[in-house]
Symmetry: C2
Subunit: 203 residues, 2 copies
């Protein structure tokens, strides 16, 4: 059984989707910590209600090294195998990322490499694409640039606003993020250059 | 009835898809010319077999102004309303494009803005995306950057080669390109910034 650590900054609806799939046994792993860099994150409350180990590690007004040092120590003490970013609003330093090679997952609300960075849904609407989606990827030292584990496509409608489009994408996030965590928890993927492939003996 | 001009350089399978939809009445338009810049284009033969006006306008070893001048004169003489690029391997100059504002359509084998330019399917495979597709767009003065009319998503499989992926995308090209031509032929779209929307009174 792999140990999962989940990092949040807000409500963490993707954390909730992952936690439900762990609880139901669909993801063969245990959640060893739900860590927020903001005390008021709604996801922390939810984690406590679910009986999970909920931690607040402050980042505000604090040197990055301090914050990341405490984060790393917490994750290592708990023997965390896999870290899932779920609405975690801090960019992790290359030094931090290097400590967990191919062991940090993130989800982004676009079909990367299109629309990286902030406000991906707004970027997509303004560019006028007819198809966007979401991407679960391994975190490397760039921004939204690591190897892609899963993607889902979502149509853009003429009448869409950022809100309606974001909601439609979020439904797919809640489907593919747990699925990607399952693939990694079951040790079913291999990495070939930038490509993430299913191990042949795992089908 | 709108007059369509189709530009090709090779077999022009998208030309064939459009021509079939014109012949069956699904696209309310007439094809006034199928023009190739290469004499040996297989699509020219097909156009002749279909009884269409097939023209060879050479581009090789000739100043671009000459080529584009003859192309423009031919299209204007035939009162061409809408120009469809179907595997046409020349980039049209900004001056040419300006003569036909929002009246030139192209299809590109990726979900733009991802993977513009040559070898889009190879770019997608090497980047490791799990979802790619094709895009019908209006041609503006950039490369593969004009307003998007339609897109279709296509999954990338672990075992895909450039050939198998290209074939899967091509099926969708043959579906959405005729559909986009129909929308323009029926005058059903409006352009709002970069967004191409269906006219509200046309639903």
């Amino acid at each position: 059984m792999k140990n999962l650590g989940i990092l949040i900054s807000g409500r963490g609806s993707n954390f909730e989707a992952i936690a439900r799939n762990v609880a139901s046994g669909k993801i063969p792993a245990r959640i060893v910590a739900v860590i927020s860099n903001r005390a008021e994150a709604r996801g922390l409350e939810l984690a406590r209600e679910m009986g999970l180990n909920a931690r607040f590690i402050p980042s505000k007004g604090r040197p990055r090294d301090d914050f990341e040092g405490e984060l790393r120590e917490t994750l290592e003490t708990l023997q965390t195998d896999l870290i899932c970013l779920a609405g975690f609003m801090r960019v992790l330093s290359p030094e931090f990322v290097k400590q967990f090679p191919n062991r940090i997952l993130n989800i982004h609300p676009s079909l990367l490499p299109a629309f990286p960075g902030m406000d991906a849904q707004k970027q997509a609407l303004e560019h006028g694409v007819k198809m966007t989606g979401c991407t679960v990827h391994l975190v490397n030292e760039g921004v939204d640039s690591g190897p892609i584990v899963l993607q889902a496509a979502v149509p853009v409608l003429d009448e869409d606003t950022v809100e309606t489009l974001s909601a439609r994408i979020l439904e797919q996030e809640h489907r593919i993020y747990p699925e990607a965590v399952r693939l990694l928890a079951e040790d079913r993927i291999q990495i070939d250059g930038r490509r993430v492939l299913l191990k042949k003996d795992s089908i």
